[in-house]
């Protein structure tokens, strides 16, 4: 299973059945492939509750998700306009928003909408989701393509919100915000505590369970 798929699958396992979930563009979209469509309710901010994946033959060009990708319609789905859709988001009616990130910092802030030096010309629904969803789950590779850490002390990219992300799921680890900071609660695949420490510049705690186990020496 490729890295992105593995992250999406792990994210899916973290979700409560029957919760209302909004999937951002990129890796989060893949999460849908690992959810039983009868037990999870997918919301998309362009105006639909009850998103499913769709077979190529059934593609309807007027039925898309927030990434403008074709989707299907679950039994019991509904449609609404954009202001009503964001009323749901901002009003706290979406249980979990799963979003990608360029960076997440030790204060829990997410940067995922703009790159310094590049034109800031698109934000979409990211800021609304970060403010409004009851729980924020970030799915991302642990490091960027050039190898630099994405979980950092303080975001150098423009932040999307001052509200903290609750869970970060990467190809190497799972962090959860507990009390006043992130706790490394899970190593994924072959990752070691040592590797996470090297690839993470944000301060974080290690869960008692992981600390007790330690790394293979």
């Amino acid at each position: 299973m490729a890295g992105k798929e593995a992250i999406a699958k792990r994210a899916a396992e973290d979700l409560e059945p029957f919760s209302i979930i909004n999937l951002g563009i990129g890796v989060p979209t893949l999460v849908a492939n690992y959810l039983d469509k009868d037990s999870y309710y997918l919301h998309t901010e362009n105006g639909m509750l009850g998103v499913t994946s769709v077979e190529e033959v059934e593609v309807d060009p007027l039925l898309v998700n927030a990434g403008k990708l074709p989707v299907g319609e679950a039994v019991g789905a509904s449609y609404f306009h954009s202001a009503d859709s964001f009323a749901m988001i901002r009003g706290g009616h979406v249980d979990v928003a799963i979003l990608g990130a360029l960076q997440v910092d030790a204060a829990g802030r997410v940067a995922n909408w703009a790159v310094p030096g590049k034109d800031i010309i698109g934000v979409g629904g990211a800021m609304d989701l970060l403010v409004g969803a009851k729980k924020i789950m970030i799915t991302t590779n642990h490091v960027s393509k050039d190898g630099s850490p994405k979980i950092v002390d303080a975001c150098t990219y423009p932040v999307t919100s001052t509200r903290k992300a609750d869970v970060i799921i990467t190809d190497l680890a799972v962090f959860r915000w507990i009390d006043d900071g992130y706790v490394l609660t899970e190593l994924r695949g072959e990752a070691t505590l040592q590797e996470i420490a090297e690839k993470t510049t944000a301060a974080y705690r290690v869960s008692e369970e992981l600390a007790a186990k330690g790394d293979p020496t």
């Binding site: 954009s82 901002r90 800031i120 629904g125």
Partner: protein, 231 residues
């Protein structure tokens, strides 16, 4: 005596003047009034301000108006879907106002609903809050956002009845209903015009009081892209 809302598309776009602010429905090309936009590309107007989530795609939909140099400003949430927008912006030939998508949608609703401004937590502490007034409400910081209104709105619906009531189709609904409420002159491009009484009164998403004119769609979005289905 009857009010005849169904008019030729050329007549509908005659109401656009240089310098106007125009709301255009659609999420990318989905639910976008492509026939009205096409007709507007044949009008000699300039300095338009477009309120739309995107400026279409490169050379498609509103992207054509951009290429024609008809746009002075665009207000929306996601211009990244048309790479030429950044280019025009950097050359100083296009002003941009970027809003979070929820704030954008709510501002249009507010414009149509007679709301003078509203407080939202969205964008607090970000670069998009620059220059905006903040206020503490029950211990949390909110931004003051202003309503958006327009001279003209071009929206797209699936069906209209002859009175001008509208129903939409799946995610082609998006910004269309709120935009239909927030402009002085509202034209709805529709795929079908049915007799009054044929739409379920409980399912009408845009009551006819919002709609000034109806035009028959000619350009439709299919799996193969935008298709001219003639008229």
């Amino acid at each position: 005596m009857r009010v005849q809302k169904h008019i030729p598309v050329q007549q509908a776009v005659e109401n656009v003047r240089s310098g106007d602010t125009i709301m255009v429905g659609g999420f990318g090309l989905v639910g976008s009034p492509l026939t009205l936009i096409d007709a507007l590309t044949h009008r000699d107007v300039t300095d338009l301000t477009i309120i739309s989530n995107n400026v279409g795609e490169t050379g498609k939909g509103l992207g054509i108006l951009l290429q024609q140099g008809k746009l002075k400003k665009a207000i929306g949430s996601y211009f990244t879907s048309n790479r030429e927008v950044a280019q025009w912006y950097n050359e100083g030939k296009l002003e941009l106002e970027l809003l979070p998508q929820g704030t954008f949608a709510e501002a249009i609703r507010a414009g149509g609903a007679g709301i003078g401004g509203f407080y939202t937590k969205t964008a607090v502490g970000t670069e998009l809050a620059a220059g905006k007034e903040t206020r503490e409400i029950e211990g949390e910081t909110y931004l003051l956002e202003k309503p958006l209104k327009a001279d003209v709105a071009f929206v797209r619906a699936e069906k209209a009845d002859t009175k001008g009531n509208l129903v939409y189709y799946k995610t082609a609904r998006n910004f269309n209903p709120v935009m239909a409420s927030a402009a002085s002159y509202v034209v709805a491009e529709v795929d079908d015009i049915v007799n009054e009484g044929e739409l379920d009164p409980e399912a009408i998403a845009t009551p006819h009081l919002f709609v000034d004119a109806l035009v028959q769609s000619r350009y439709v979005l299919t799996k193969e892209g935008v298709v001219d289905r003639g008229r």
